[in-house]
């Protein structure tokens, strides 16, 4: 199986789907000649032409509104928001238009759009280009929020997202773009709304998304040498959330930690924890449930402070050790 980066896996999904389905087209800022701010759409203008790789003005509201309109007329648009931070400008189109139309028209239409957006800190892009806003998007019924952590998941989920008849926010992570993994050349999809146990363990369940999955797996490897077996769950889709997988895991381990880069207050960890505590898994909890989110501050520009703002390996390790040893 060929190895490729997270970024290449997403590009391959877009490429293959545009070959397969002529209704699929891309739109966004600088995605054509420049190949996108991160180079994700590099080469696609040459391959598919300006009709299907459309440069837009610097207006996120317009980008999403155009996608919604096109989808209503039968197209399968994939819009790019250059930095996730800018999705706030398009939020009315996403939340009030895309998410609601199917309901308001009694199911007689649907909005099959994908809105791609790279989020996350770690590139020194400062507080207006580094946020993790996925928790906000989870608050709008009608949306789906997909959030892959590996190249394999990224390709499979992108193909599923484009084929999904409803609006999907596809949250990518800038730091993950360069991570590598095995990705099949073939066409395959990963079902939206299904979590994956990335590593099985008996002592503690850690639920994490995108870059935090990688950090936690790395820590789990180290802790295993000390006899601590961490079960790592990647929800992969945040909305709808696969609570069943998480609940089953906590029933087994009796401990739950949720790790995300998004600011802790109002972050989706609270949603996971509430689902578990309110479920039959409650009776199996043997430690207070905990969350480790980003600090409640804007992401600093300074590299040292930027790291300080989000959970690091040492933080996750300390938290897990404390919980497993019953010191919390």
């Amino acid at each position: 199986m060929p190895e490729m980066t997270y970024l290449e896996a997403i590009r391959q999904a877009l490429w293959q789907e545009m070959k397969r389905d002529e209704r699929v087209f891309l739109l966004g800022e600088d995605i054509g000649v420049y190949g996108g701010a991160f180079g994700l759409t590099h080469g696609m203008l040459d391959e598919f032409g300006p009709e299907r790789v459309r440069e837009t003005p610097i207006s996120e509201a317009t980008i999403v509104a155009t996608a919604v309109g096109a989808s209503l007329l039968g197209m399968r648009p994939v819009a790019e928001i250059m930095f996730m931070d800018f999705v706030l400008l398009a939020l009315d189109q996403i939340a009030n238009q895309a998410a609601k139309m199917r309901f308001m028209f009694g199911g007689r239409t649907s909005v099959p759009i994908v809105v791609r957006m790279p989020g996350g800190s770690g590139t020194g892009a400062a507080s207006q280009h580094s946020q993790s806003l996925e928790s906000i998007l989870m608050h709008f019924p009608g949306l789906k929020v997909v959030n892959p952590s590996t190249p394999y998941d990224a390709k499979g989920l992108m193909l599923a997202a484009i084929r999904d008849p409803n609006p999907v926010c596809f949250v990518e992570h800038k730091v993950l773009y360069k991570t590598k993994g095995e990705v099949p050349e073939d066409d395959y999809t990963i079902p939206i709304g299904v979590a994956e146990v990335k590593r099985a363990g008996r002592d503690i369940t850690v639920v994490a998304n995108n870059i935090m999955v990688m950090k936690t797996l790395h820590i789990a490897e180290r802790l295993a040498q000390d006899g601590i077996e961490v079960e790592v769950i990647d929800p992969r889709t945040l909305l709808p959330l696969d609570t069943e997988t998480i609940i089953n895991s906590v029933t087994k381990t009796g401990r739950l930690l949720v790790v995300h880069e998004a600011c802790q207050t109002g972050g989706w960890a609270g949603e996971v924890i509430a689902s578990v505590v309110g479920s039959p898994a409650f009776d199996y909890l043997d430690t207070p449930v905990r969350r480790l989110g980003g600090r409640d501050i804007p992401i600093p520009y300074n590299r040292g402070l930027e790291k300080f703002a989000i959970p690091q390996d040492a933080d996750i390790e300390a938290e897990i050790r404390m919980m497993v040893s019953g010191k919390v």
Binding site: D283, Y284, D286, K327
Partner: protein, 437 residues
């Protein structure tokens, strides 16, 4: 104002009563003194009369509920009143901080750092009870004190949900488990560890009909345990030749027949003799009060009897002043009421000595447990005809021999005092005419 209907207190030391059945329902019109419900105290079933005339409303407890005395169990709406006139449903009173004596508190506060004093105030901690680790009571000292307390306002046992589940499944009392978690929190491993030390027989998997401990059963259990644990029992046994007593009983029966009264039982005769002996041995007719002893002036003899719901002990008041015929009549009446569960509270109160007779089951002799607050109990076995030596010349005759065993509270009754009492009993039963002396 609607009249609150409270659970009455029938007995000095009564704390609660079980509702057996409501005779009236919400909305029923009831008259003053009319029976509204039947309750069971620790001793008897009692019909509770209405405190007022009006409409019964907001019955708060159902049949079978155990209700503390003086609790409002319903209201009675008087003419013209509606449900809207009822007071708002009680809310749980806010948990109050423990009361702290202000003077000693002020003195102690002078020995505490300001932070410690403020903490103590906020947490309602009595600073005089806090041990200081240095010159002054510090915040750490207060924290340590708090950590070692389990105030009523907190959950009694800190335990994780998993620990609670495991405890539930294994039938383990969480309070018996030492917690290894922070602040002593019990975690599931702690419960599992405890479970290993408990014999398998405690397992809930064994099949059994489980009878809840209520009413009379609970009272019996509590009082027997209390008695046997708190009062040191001594037991003394004597044999009594019942020949003369049987003769007397025959003559009494002839008299009873003439008067169309029931046949006189051995028990009635024994009660009479016991009452006589108690008058001469006041320490057997006494109660131990911890720092004093009450020698009762009345001789009220309880007789253990079987009732449908368990043991009851109807009391013959002033037995020393009654003739055997009168004792017998009252005994018959009390026994009948006990069988029909119709004993009144006054029928079972005020006993000073108890007699338990299992002779009719062929029990030769046995030791009974003292019925608190009394200090002695007489266990009566069966009279058996057997050969005994009757004089100095070693003549042997067959005589009816009754075995009596006295259990006495050794705190109140010395062995010799108990022996004298038994000796008087023997005299009274073997020569009943001595009672006339």
């Amino acid at each position: 104002m609607p009249v609150p209907f409270i659970m009455p207190k029938f007995d000095m030391d009564q704390e609660q009563a079980t509702i057996i059945s409501w005779e009236k329902r919400d909305g029923d019109f009831i008259k003053f003194e009319e029976t509204v419900l039947t309750v069971e105290t620790d001793k008897v079933a009692i019909e509770v009369p209405s405190p007022a005339t009006g409409t019964l409303a907001r019955i708060a407890y159902k049949d079978g509920d155990v209700v503390p005395v003086t609790t409002i169990i319903a209201y009675i709406l008087k003419d013209g009143e509606t449900l809207a006139d009822l007071p708002k449903a009680d809310s749980t009173p806010p948990l109050s901080k423990p009361e702290v004596d202000p003077v000693s508190q002020t003195l102690a506060a002078a020995q505490a750092t300001p932070v410690a004093a403020r903490m103590a105030k906020e947490e309602g901690v009595d600073l005089t009870k806090v041990a200081s680790s240095g010159d002054k009571i510090t915040r750490k000292d207060v924290e340590l004190y708090l950590a070692n307390q389990t105030p009523a306002s907190r959950v009694a046992v800190a335990a994780t949900p998993a620990a609670r589940r495991v405890a539930r499944e294994k039938g383990i009392d969480l309070e018996s488990v030492a917690g290894s978690g922070p602040r002593g929190r019990v975690q599931s491993a702690d419960v599992s560890k405890t479970a290993k030390h408990i014999p398998a027989s405690v397992s809930h998997e064994r099949e059994a009909e489980v009878i809840p401990l209520t009413g009379i059963r609970r009272t019996i259990a509590e009082r027997m345990q209390q008695s046997f644990q708190q009062s040191p029992h001594i037991a003394l046994t004597v044999d009594v030749d019942m020949t003369e007593a049987e003769d007397v009983r025959k003559r009494f029966n002839a008299q009873a027949e003439k008067l169309a009264q029931p046949r006189v039982t051995v028990t009635a005769l024994i009660i009479k003799v016991v009452a006589w002996a108690l008058v001469h041995n006041p320490y057997l007719n006494a109660s131990f009060n911890g720092d004093s002893i009450s020698l009762w002036k009345d001789v009220n003899i309880g007789v253990a009897a079987a009732a449908p719901q368990g043991l009851v002990v109807p009391v013959l008041k002033g037995a020393d002043k009654l003739g055997v015929g009168e004792i017998n009549l009252r005994l018959v009446e009390l026994a009948e009421r006990a069988r029909e569960n119709k004993l009144k509270l006054e029928d079972v109160q005020g006993g000073t000595f108890t007699i338990s007779n299992l002779g009719m089951f062929g029990i030769r002799q046995f030791r009974a447990i003292i019925n608190p607050p009394e200090s002695a109990i007489l266990a009566v076995g069966s009279a058996v005809r057997k050969p005994v030596v009757i004089d100095e010349q070693d003549h042997v005759e067959v005589r009816p021999i009754l075995s009596l065993t006295l259990s006495a509270d050794h705190r109140v009754i010395d062995g010799i005092v108990a022996a004298r009492f038994l000796s008087d009993l023997v005299t009274g039963l073997e020569s009943p005419s001595m009672l006339l002396y």
